[in-house]
């Protein structure tokens, strides 16, 4: 559980959830079902190695290379694997292209399904009930909360990842980026733009988050 900047007395007992997690971890380790060293590698992988910068490279390649983009849209997983990204929770990938008339947005209303090899682990809001409930019912309202307002003639398509397919949004290439290198383009691709709750940044808008 997060500690850090808080005002309460440190003699407080941990929350029920924290206690439950500790109890489960102890049991799993004691019974030999989980190797703590393997857990450390898993955590390190998704903290420092696999994250949305992978997806940003895929998007920048698609913006720069029309043939790659065609492969990406027709067989997402294979094209993503060309850049070395594949594996758990990315076995069956579908890439959705945003255009002037279509905006795609991804949610998992049943749980928190998310394309790990290209985006890493999902942000907390993606797993939270308010986003999951509202994304399908009021996507324009959700987009507004993320600071995005789209013209009314843009059809919003919400993809609910209820099965084993994992979705990556290919955001629109921002205007004024025609001369940019693939590497500089990747810096414009935000995590949220690949979930569909945001747009890619325009040059000069700052670093991708």
């Amino acid at each position: 559980m997060p500690s850090g900047d808080h005002g309460h007395d440190h003699s407080d007992v941990p929350s029920d959830l924290a206690l439950r997690v500790k109890a489960l971890e102890s049991l799993l380790v004691e019974k030999g079902l989980v190797d703590p060293a393997a857990l450390d590698v898993l955590i390190d992988t998704y903290e420092t190695k696999v994250g949305p910068r992978n997806g940003a490279k895929v998007v920048a390649r698609a913006w720069s290379d029309p043939a790659y983009k065609m492969r990406l849209l027709s067989a997402g997983g294979k094209a993503i694997a060309e850049l070395g990204f594949k594996g758990r929770q990315g076995e069956d990938m579908v890439v959705l292209e945003n255009t002037d008339t279509t905006h795609n947005m991804v949610v998992c209303t049943l749980c928190s399904c998310y394309p790990w090899p290209v985006l890493g682990l999902p942000p907390v809001w993606y797993k939270a009930a308010p986003y999951r409930a509202r994304a399908v019912r009021d996507p324009r309202g959700v987009l507004k909360d993320f600071g995005v307002t789209l013209p009314e003639n843009v059809e919003i398509r919400v993809w609910d990842s209820t099965a084993e397919l994992r979705y990556l949004v290919l955001p629109q290439r921002p205007p004024g980026t025609e001369a940019m290198s693939e590497e500089n383009l990747a810096a414009l691709v935000t995590r949220d733009s690949m979930i569909g709750t945001g747009l890619a940044k325009t040059p000069g808008q700052g670093e991708a988050t």
Binding site: A38, T45, Q89, E91, L110, E155, D160, A163, E164, L165
Partner: protein, 116 residues
């Protein structure tokens, strides 16, 4: 099952574990076809979200053949079958809304669907 060792984590993550099944099963529906989600209401969790049970949509694409989690989780077999992306107009799910209120695409197995 032996615990995953630290040295094997990277390989295990890269290998993944697709639920796609390489068997020849005939699809029950075709892209463009109108379908309804069966109004199933079993005890426990299924992968057809409640908000579209009983609603009608259109098959957008056929993703191929996958393990059916409802039977697989219950230990009664993989029941390989087609999974489709089904397009539901937002107004068909929630009632009339503002113009341009879009659509929801939901991945559904054959066993959840019937002709509309």
């Amino acid at each position: 099952m032996p615990a995953l060792k630290a040295a094997d984590v990277e390989q295990a993550l890269r290998k993944g574990g697709s639920a796609r099944v390489d068997v020849d099963v005939a699809p029950k529906f075709k892209p463009g076809q109108r379908v309804a989600v069966r109004n199933l209401n079993p005890l426990g969790h299924i992968r057809a979200p409640r908000y579209v049970r009983g609603r009608s949509g259109t098959i957008d694409r056929d993703h191929g053949v996958f393990v059916f989690p409802d039977t697989h989780a219950a230990g009664t077999g993989k029941s390989p079958q087609h999974v489709y992306s089904v397009r539901f107009e937002a107004s068909d799910v929630w009632g009339p809304g503002p113009p341009g209120d879009g659509a929801i695409y939901i991945d559904l197995w054959d066993d959840y669907l019937e002709p509309a």
